[in-house]
């Protein structure tokens, strides 16, 4: 009850602050299992992406977040586990033989959709950092899941790094066409193709 109230408050707040506009360019908002992968420039990225999904998709769509950041402090822990129902991953790889992708694979096997930031960390410059290989392994082992690139525009101006007060500028989220996984393609080529598909959704700089 409290968690869904908090979720409602946060998603409404995020939408009000940024006037978030979702552009479904290459696909439509449908209840199929998906892996949304997006550019990452701010802590608010997954909140905004999550908030811009229709409510019935939001329930089964879970953001992937770093356990090292979100499990410190009881408020963060409550938000990420109870409100956002996130899949927490161990970015530091505490034990060398554990598979850091396992929690994501488990969530996909349960039928959940995921929100993933394949750059792995926040990027403060224009463009995209090289992708981490997790996206490739998920695509290869779970080929039934649709891979949807999502470009989040302007949120880095709304919440610049290290600033407490957000600016009420308008944000746009562009949802692209599903990316197919090709058997014969290698890891590097796949990741490059995924990265280009995401970059193609970015608005042109004038």
């Amino acid at each position: 009850m409290l968690a869904s109230l908090a979720a409602f408050a946060i998603t409404s707040g995020a939408r009000l602050l940024t006037g978030a506009r979702a552009l479904w360019l290459g696909c439509t908002a449908q209840p199929v299992q998906r892996l949304y992968f997006a550019n990452h420039s701010s802590h608010g990225d997954f909140v905004l992406l999550w908030a811009s999904l229709p409510a019935e998709l939001r329930r089964s769509t879970r953001p992937v977040a770093g356990a090292d950041y979100w499990l410190t402090g009881s408020v963060r822990r409550y938000l990420i586990q109870r409100v956002f129902n996130a899949v927490l991953v161990d970015r530091q790889r505490a034990s060398p033989d554990s598979n850091p992708l396992q929690p994501m694979l488990d969530a996909l096997d349960r039928g959940d959709s995921l929100i993933l930031f394949p750059e792995g960390t926040r990027n403060l410059e224009a463009g995209l950092l090289p992708f981490k290989s997790g996206l490739y392994h998920l695509a290869r082992t779970r080929p039934g899941v649709e891979l949807i690139p999502v470009w989040i525009a302007n949120l880095n101006r709304v919440m610049p790094k290290g600033r407490a007060l957000p600016l009420p500028l308008l944000c746009t989220l562009s949802f692209g066409a599903p990316l197919a996984y090709l058997e014969e393609e290698g890891k590097a080529a796949f990741l490059e193709r995924a990265r280009n598909a995401l970059l193609a959704l970015a608005p042109e700089e004038i």
Binding site: R163, L165, L167, P168, L170, E204, E205, I206
Partner: protein, 310 residues
Amino acid sequence: MERNSLWLFAGIGALLLLATLVGRLLKRRSGAAPNPVIDNLNARINAWWVMVLVIGSAFLFGNIGVILLFYCVSFYALREFMTLTPTRRSDYPALVAAFYFALPMQYLLIALDWYGLFAIFIPVYLFLLLPILASLGGDTTRFLERAAEVQWGLMIAVYCISSVPALLTLEIPGYEGRNLLLIAWLILVVQISDVLQYVCGKLFGTRKIAPQLSPSKTLEGFLGGVALASLIGALLYWITPFAFWQAALLALLVNLLGFAGGLVMSAIKRDRGVKDWGHMIEGHGGMLDRLDSVCFAAPVFFHFVRYWWA
């Protein structure tokens, strides 16, 4: 609301009802297939109902309602302007000052009826404060351009738009307590000029008046729209402190300024590579798309009225 306001809003309601009927009729005649021009016309008419309802409810709450309404209008306009403006990370303090200090302050000054500071707060104090804040960031890339953009956004979206509710602060002898009607007159004349330019352009337009800036504006639309809207402004002299001929001249002035405002704001949009400022008003585009003419007409109108009537 006094009797004149009721008549005015009843008239606007009747006009919208007529427009709605014409729009539906056109849609019926064109068949089931989507027709972009007619569909956009109907979306515009529907949005007009909403806008008139919002303005009407603000009027019911009197001066405070209108000041709050235009505070929100300025906020949405400023946000559209700043979204399209390529600022950098070190512009953050200047943008915070624009959204969270200058904007509320300007409307507070109107509510407090402090004309002396209202008139110079943004053109003098913010004009100097914003580049100071930007310089503290230490980033010199396109510095003058960035400083000018934030300043320009504040002038257009906050200073110019706030001239509309500032009409409430004028003390016009023999017109006490009726200043809301002056706002209604200004908005109505400028907006109806936009509508009539659009209608005349669609019906008779052949010669483009500014093809580089705004391909949809035609000479016929401009002449017909401005002339008809000025006539309407003159015929509505009974809700203003003006005589018939004064109302006609002032209506002509605000309509010409409104047209010029549309051109200037179009030039900015073209330069930024977009067709509309935003998407919040179905069929019209953004807040600034609807208000570009008011931005240019309101401040001059305010100062003319203040100089000769107040």
